[in-house]
């Protein structure tokens, strides 16, 4: 249980900082950090078990049909990543509290941050690979929110979109890969899959699995050629970059490659694809980083380069390389987070991140300069920092690797990348902090408050400690994580600062020398770089994206040019063609049911419908007559419902008919009263033929359905309605009990639809359209009497009676025709009647409740009724009923569904009234009767 809680706490706790924000920034930050700390403590309780080489697990079935289980486990690798996620998360929370300005929505920021944290923990602790995918995509989504946090900046939105498109797109590939992997391995549980290495590597699907999984990992970890999204994601607030782009999200790809190392690694393909991609990424990113001017952009490319190092190490396939990779994951997270935070401090205090406008900050911001120097030293790999150790290990592994039979190829490329790495690190440090003090900083720089410099300082101290005493501070966790990644005992190694004069050390010293020299030649090199014609990854991305958009737009424009006529034509044509094909390929026999004789009234009703439809088709150019005939058809349907013993449906139909009529009339006010007079052409004959064909086939379908005996579910409902649902009205029991969940969904939709109508109409009155709209008049002559007295009087007399009828219908709904929905429509119509007769302003003034609140309240009541049954240990929306004797009133049935029905009632009243009142408000503000 506790393992699942580690993941769930941040996800559920995400609301707290948002709520606590009402108390203040500190309270919000404390709420966020306490959630993180709690999760961290829960995680650390597992350390002892893990060090005893047991793997704590927790599992619940979620959707067992597709082998999706909510199962979690913590082993060494998961522990390492989880500690990084939570530890750095905590520091970032503190940092963000002081970094973000008071105008920014800190509560929202922390909520997103916790959401991301939970998703990331889910990725590293999931045992089920499908669950892992769920969390994987959740990290993409939550990082989208975080990167686009400054939603008013175009860069932020663009970067967020790009990151989402690339990482979530990769996630889809990963999903396919995982499904294949699970099928081949015969299980979707990681602990099982990891035992099936041989089976998977020898499977014919191995290459597909590898390709799909690697696409997922490479997009997430910004490997070439998917690296371009990361620099654009730098539009995020710096705390986000420090968190997502140093320690967590971009490491998810590395994590997954480490996780699946035992089953996927060890083949030639793995070596060439993974290590090759790693080396290329490492080199390209290091080169680009040297020519960037934005501090965060330099760090972004540096991150890509270091991710390349890790990918390369995973790709080697040797056990020691995995150890080196794990160790570098730790070290990189520490120094890169510190550097990002430091870049944020510079940005915060000087007002710019442009390296060409900086320099000489060391004397002005000594504390920041010291932390930056130490962290950058770690990034370059200068002893005694931690970066030095893992870099030496990496170089050591590289000297053992041979690619395409050429022993010097890999070391050579890595060497080159190291030279650039040294150069950009030195440039980052020297051009920001050293050199002459300038007098044209956008803001006067000074050291920031403690809250800003303490988090990076903590990380730098940790970096030094690991550098000086590697065995004590990082030995055991590296060993645990490596064991877990390898799924076997890792080779014996000893982390220490001094290994003697190894080739790796020589390479380091050489790279340092070359790098420093290269930097001294920076100006001429830069001018060459600026002139070089380089492919722009973002440009290519934009190009392909625009091409997709254009294709989609062309397809849409061709098929739907805004003509309802054409849309219906295509739809009906496609439907009848498909139906025709299916019918032609199957056999048909006349059903065995006997036909019932028709009686006079029903025959007349049938004639009425047919003639009304003909009138509609004939007179459709006058929209008012069309509306009237549609109403008549609706009326006859409701009579048919009565005749066929469905009084509930009849009531609903009658009420809906009126609401629709009012809605249509409100809208028709703004529309031309006459439709365009079409010239009779071949298209009309074509349409007539098509509609006759479709009508005939639908009629035939009904005939076929009704002449055959079929087993319907209704007998079950009729049988169980009273004993199980406690109501004699089957329709109502189905609505509020048997299919209560559907109803719950439907009222939610009604609420959302009403809100959408409200938002849209409100936007029309205030937005760019409003000018045209407010000037609009119908140009017709209208009667001067706005509110005729006869109507006012009659409607006011009818209001209480209508409410009475509504109450009656509502109360008896469970046992006799009626219910919340119909009652709600009756009340809405009674209220709308007042609006119609006495005017919007008069009625609106006297309605003392907010329609939004009604919608929300109704949904809430329905939800609480549903949840109430969970509290009592039954499934959602289980109903209970009891007969209670009230004095004077008698025996009354109290059913929990009545409360649910009340929720339905309130939501529907709120929804209908909100929509109609706002539509009528639009008419009130515009046109001839403007007030």
């Amino acid at each position: 249980m506790s393992i699942a809680l580690i993941v769930l706490l941040p996800l559920l706790g995400a609301v707290f900082p948002a709520l606590m924000m009402r108390l203040g920034k500190n309270e919000s930050a404390i709420a966020a950090s306490s959630v993180t700390i709690l999760s961290l403590v829960l995680l650390l309780t597992n350390i002892f078990a893990i060090s005893q080489s047991t793997v704590p697990q927790a599992s619940w079935p979620w959707v067992p049909q597709i082998d999706l289980n909510a199962s979690f486990f913590v082993d060494g690798l998961g522990l390492l990543f989880a500690v990084m996620i939570l530890g750095i998360g905590l520091l970032v929370t503190v940092y963000a509290r002081f970094y973000l300005s008071p105008q920014e929505a800190l509560g929202r920021f922390f909520a997103y941050l916790l959401l991301f944290q939970g998703a990331m923990l889910g990725v590293v602790l999931s045992n089920n690979i499908l669950l892992l995918i769920v969390f994987w995509e959740l990290t993409s989504l939550s990082s989208f929110l975080l990167i686009g946090f400054k939603s008013d900046s175009q860069e932020g939105r663009q970067g967020a979109r790009m990151a989402l498109a690339v990482t979530a797109g990769g996630g889809l590939a990963l999903l396919a890969g995982m499904l294949l992997l699970g099928q081949v391995a015969g299980s979707f549980e990681l602990t099982e899959i990891l035992k099936e290495g041989e089976k998977i590597r020898s499977s014919p699907y191995y290459l597909s699995i590898l390709a799909l999984v690697l696409i997922g990992c490479f997009t997430k970890s910004a490997q070439f050629p998917f690296h371009f999204w990361l620099p654009h994601a730098m539009a995020a607030p710096t705390p986000v970059s420090a968190y997502l782009h140093s320690a967590t999200m971009v490491k998810a790809g590395i994590f997954l490659m480490l996780r699946l190392w035992p089953v996927l690694a060890g083949t030639q393909t793995w070596f060439y694809v993974v290590a090759g991609t790693g080396v290329i990424t490492m080199l390209i990113a290091a080169v680009i980083a040297l020519f960037r001017d934005d501090l965060k952009s330099i760090l972004a490319y540096s991150t890509i380069s270091h991710l390349g190092i890790m990918t390369m190490l995973v790709g080697f396939g040797s056990e020691m390389a995995v150890v080196a990779c794990v160790f570098h994951v730790i070290n990189h997270a520490i120094f890169k987070a510190a550097l990002f935070m430091n870049a944020g401090i510079v940005d915060h205090e000087t007002g710019t991140r442009d390296i060409s406008r900086l320099g000489g900050l060391a004397s002005l911001m000594p504390i920041s300069a010291i932390t930056a120097t130490l962290a950058a030293a770690s990034m370059v790999g200068v002893p005694p920092m931690n970066g030095f150790l893992s870099k030496e290990m990496m170089l050591e592994e590289v000297t053992h690797a041979t690619a395409i039979g050429v022993a010097w190829l890999l070391p050579g490329l890595v060497m080159l990348a190291s030279v650039f790495s040294v150069a950009y690190s030195l440039r980052f440090l020297l051009y920001t902090y050293f050199g002459p003090v300038r007098n044209d900083y956008p803001a006067k720089p000074h050291d920031p408050s403690r809250g800003l410099w303490l988090p990076p300082a903590c990380l730098v101290v940790l970096a030094i400690l690991i550098g000086l005493f590697p065995e004590a501070w990082a030995g055991s966790i590296t060993r645990l994580a490596s064991d877990a990644a390898l799924q076997s005992k890792s080779p014996k190694f000893h982390l220490s600062l001094w290994h003697g004069w190894t080739p790796a050390l020589m390479m380091s010293i050489f790279a340092f020398g070359c790098g420093a020299t290269a930097l001294s030649l920076y100006v001429p090199v830069r001018s060459i770089w600026n002139k070089a014609l380089l492919p722009d990854a973002k440009g290519l991305y934009d190009l392909s994206l625009n091409a997709c958009v254009r294709l989609a737009r062309i397809t849409t424009d061709r098929s739907f040019n805004g003509s309802l006529h054409r849309m219906l034509f295509l739809f009906v044509l496609a439907a009848s063609a498909l139906g025709g094909v299916v019918f032609a390929r199957s056999s048909y026999e006349r059903g065995e049911r006997e036909l019932l004789p028709i009686n006079t009234s029903m025959f007349v009703g049938w004639v009425l419908v047919i003639v009304a439809c003909f009138v509609l088709a004939w007179k459709h150019q006058s929209r008012l007559i069309a509306l009237l005939t549609v109403n008549i058809v609706g009326l006859i349907s409701s009579i048919a419902f009565i005749y066929l013993s469905a009084p509930d449906l009849a009531l609903t139909q009658i009420a809906v008919e009126v609401v629709t009529l009012i809605l249509m009339l409100l809208a028709l006010h703004f529309l031309p009263k006459e439709a365009i007079n079409e010239v009779i052409s071949w298209r009309q004959y074509r349409d007539i033929v098509l509609s006759v064909a479709v009508g005939a086939s639908v009629g035939f379908l009904c005939w076929a359905m009704m002449t055959h005996d079929f087993q319907s579910i209704s007998s079950y409902y009729i049988q169980h309605s009273k004993p199980l649902g406690g109501g004699a009205n089957v329709v109502n029991v189905i609505l509020v009990d048997f299919r209560g969940f559907d109803t719950f969904g439907e009222i939610t939709v009604i609420g959302i639809a009403a809100m959408a109508i409200y938002a849209m109409l409100d936007g029309m009155l205030t937005g760019p359209l409003s000018a045209t709209l407010l000037k609009w008049t119908s140009g017709l002559r209208f009667s001067p009497n706005r509110h005729p007295m006869m109507m006012v009087v009659v409607t006011r007399v009818m209001l209480p009676l209508a409410i009475l009828v509504a109450c009656y219908i509502f109360l008896r709904g469970h046992n006799l025709p009626g219910g919340g929905f119909i009652a709600a429509l009756v009340v809405s119509i009674a209220l709308i009647m007042q609006y119609m007769a006495s005017g919007f302003a008069w009625a609106d003034e006297r309605v003392h409740f907010d329609y939004h609140a009604l919608i929300g309240g109704g949904g809430l009541i329905a939800a609480i009724t549903g949840i109430g049954s969970i509290v009592l240990g039954k499934p959602f929306l289980t109903s209970g009923f009891k007969y209670v004797d009230f004095p004077f009133i008698g025996k009354v049935e109290l059913a929990s569904v009545s409360a649910f029905d009340l929720g339905v009632f309130l939501t529907v009243v709120g929804g209908v009234m909100l929509a109609l009142a706002n539509l009528s408000n639009l008419g009130r503000m515009t046109g001839d009767g403007k007030q």
């Binding site: 009234s601 009531l651 219908i809």
Partner: protein, 89 residues
């Protein structure tokens, strides 16, 4: 006896409905059609009541009640639309 009366009622109302339909289809003015529609609703109410008498049940009376209430509102809405253009102002 009631049975025969009800059958007579059905027949009379059915013919009445067909006559209304003629008016609905032929007009000549929109208001003729609205009037025909309104009359149709009232006839339907009578039909429902007679159906209840025939079946000896009160199950369908709510429908008649709602029809009585709402036919008024529909007709008024049409009239307002013709008189004022905007039915709620």
């Amino acid at each position: 006896m009631i049975g025969y009366a009800v059958l007579f009622g059905f027949a009379a109302i059915s013919i009445a409905l067909l006559m209304n339909l003629w008016r609905l289809a032929m007009g000549p003015t929109v208001l003729d059609r609205v009037l025909a529609g309104d009359t149709m609703v009232v006839n339907m109410i009578a039909l429902i009541i007679l159906y209840g008498v025939q079946r000896n049940t009160t199950l369908y009376f709510e429908s008649a009640l709602l029809l009585a209430m709402f036919s008024f509102i529909s007709t008024i809405a049409y009239c307002r639309f013709l008189l004022r253009g905007d039915i709620i102002e």
